[in-house]
Amino acid sequence: MAGTSINIVHPRRPSLQKDIYKADCAEICEIETFSIETKKWSAKNDQLEIKIKELISLHEQGFIPRTGPLKKHQILYSVEASDDGKKVDITLGYPKSYAGTEFSKYATLIHLVEEIKRMMKFEIGEK
């Protein structure tokens, strides 16, 4: 597997300092997280790449919820992901910005984003 990347940005409030979860994966993944402090490391992890591809696949299948215009304080996440040239750029608001069946898509996407974050924070250990 080669050429996957993800950049998740999550602003804190009211400081607006941005938590960052970033990974660029080719043979190995170069990972960078910023949550109060910066951590950078390399790790070989196929599971992370699988999750990034899953996110791209959700987009291709039309399972990304539609997000209307958001004010700055309404932004929960910005997510950029790519896999071998396919790119996804998603801005997600807070849950009540998603009505009807868009909410189910939103819940699925949040679950996936949180899983990727958790992998980077806890499962792919800093070497």
């Binding site: 409030r13 009211p14 910023f34 004010k71 069946t101 819940a107 949180e114």
Partner: protein, 364 residues
Amino acid sequence: MKSFILLVVLGSTAAVANDTIRDGLKVLNNPAGTVNSIDCDPSKPWCQDLFKHACSIKKTQNKLGSLDRMVSDKYWRKLPAKPEKKLYNNTAMEAISTAEKNVFSMGKVNKAEVDQLFFDAKAVLLQAVGNDPAIPIIRRANLQKNLSAVKLLTGLDYIKDLEEWARKQDPKMNADDRRHGAIQMYTSTCGANGLEVNAFYENGNIVLCPGLIYSLEDYGPKSKDEILNALSFTIGHELSHSIEPETFPDVYSKFGLCFTETTKNSKFWNSETAGELSGDYWGAKVLASRIRVQGVRGGNTARTVGLSIDGFCSETSGRNSPQPSTAFRVNNSIARTPEIRESLGCGSLSVDAPACTLAGAIPK
């Protein structure tokens, strides 16, 4: 001769005291106008760079980290690698509940005090909105209506509220999936145990992550008022998202123009900056109302600002730096709030470095 000198000294002391009392009374009546006449010691570091000074105030312990580890060890370590949703949900709810209870029992402030703080903050803003001559009379009722409707929710309240909302959006969604989604939405901002230093406003609700409250304990606060004062800024800021510039542009037009002119940047006031600068304006108002009553001054005010901006001081990298910068927000907005500036004991504002208010620049 000695008696004469003593009389002169006593007379001078009384005159100074009387002058101080007169100046103090004038400040209460007209803080923006009188602040220019109060002398200030230019060596006070918070007057030169309040952001730098406030960020030099460091945490002296890590109670928050200890609590987070304790809760994680108690609940999450025991969970299997890929738990089924019901088990995950139950674990999360117990962890969030335990963390919150500990924050309010082990910390200096309890939940009732935070609820009262919220009520008081709302009252301050309602009065400020009602009395500010710069706010068009036709707007005041709507501003007050929006402010009045805002609620402060705990983490569990928020999760349950979101579950109910989700049930109406998609009745076919499985209950465990619904709860799982609601929990993830809460924990994405507040962390697995609710102990991230974070807060948010969403559709008329404010959530202060318990971590935001407990984090302040790590500064070794001398009293509960230190914590409540710091929280008052955040509450005021988040409350203001119910009365934002995008919704009430005419209320903030002179406020925005002031920033455009003082930064000499015609694009400075935009959808990215406006909400946060107005949030800081109202947050500072709420904070100022408390410290004025308590008589907090000088270095103690600077320390209070330091605790209020907990989380503002972290390093940021390049393109992900917030706009406006946290230094700008503190030095060009909070530090120039007339009531805060008077409390800091700093020198006059100037036409080149004015306070931006709803009436425009002060001084003009």
